[in-house]
């Protein structure tokens, strides 16, 4: 559990989604945000632990924080600059 107080512009509940849909849904949701805004992603697919950081790194977005909450993984992703 984290006491993080990151201001989020949107929340994506990806619980129950299987590989690779958590990052697919994340990519779509991020397109709705402005650069600098933060998305909170909640996923239960264990693959997300490796997938989300790799996705963020390859797409120019920033993983600010992650933690586990029960059986879910929570990520805070800041949208990078558009190309």
């Amino acid at each position: 559990m984290s006491e993080t107080q990151i201001e989020t512009a949107a929340v994506l509940d990806a619980r129950g989604l299987l590989c690779p849909m958590p990052i697919v849904k994340t990519a779509k949701k991020m397109k709705e945000l402005e650069p600098g805004q933060v998305l909170k992603l909640i996923a239960t697919d264990r693959g997300s632990l490796a997938d989300v950081p790799a996705w963020a790194n390859s797409t120019g977005n920033e993983l600010l924080e992650r933690y586990e909450e029960g059986d879910a993984f929570v990520f805070f992703l800041r949208k990078g600059e558009e190309v």
């Binding site: 989604l17 690779p20 849909m21 697919v24 990519a27 390859s58």
Partner: protein, 122 residues
């Protein structure tokens, strides 16, 4: 941001093996989500996966359903290229294939692979 990248994913297994049929779609789905241009190539029994009505019947454990992955890849700009002699052998025409699937020959596959950043073959 990274430079433009392109991934070619070749599919040669059909619905008889749901896991190996689904993995290339999972890879392609992850790629389109990562702003990578994706070209999927279907050869041999892989052609069966882009027959209308087939993808929806394939679901490997622990993977997203193949039908959902196919729709995602199409929606996010992935191309679907299908081997001409392979579909001919199976007595299929473009009308038998999912919308957006394009029947091509070996030369086009070669052009796609040689212009790609990387290729995967399943």
């Amino acid at each position: 941001m990274p430079e433009h990248e392109k991934l070619v994913v070749m599919v040669t297994h059909g619905p008889e093996d749901p896991e190996i049929a689904t993995i290339p779609f999972a890879m392609a789905g992850a790629a389109v989500a990562s702003d990578v241009e994706v070209v999927m190539g279907f050869q041999g029994d892989g052609c069966e996966l882009v027959r209308k009505g087939v993808a929806e019947t394939v679901h490997a454990d622990e993977f997203a359903p193949l039908g959902e992955l196919l729709e995602t890849i199409k929606e996010m700009g992935g191309q679907l290229l299908v081997c001409s002699p392979c579909v001919k052998k199976r007595h299929l025409t473009e009308d038998d294939l999912v919308q957006g699937a394009e029947i091509v020959a070996a030369g086009r596959f070669v052009a796609e692979v040689t212009s790609a950043t990387n290729s995967l073959v399943y």
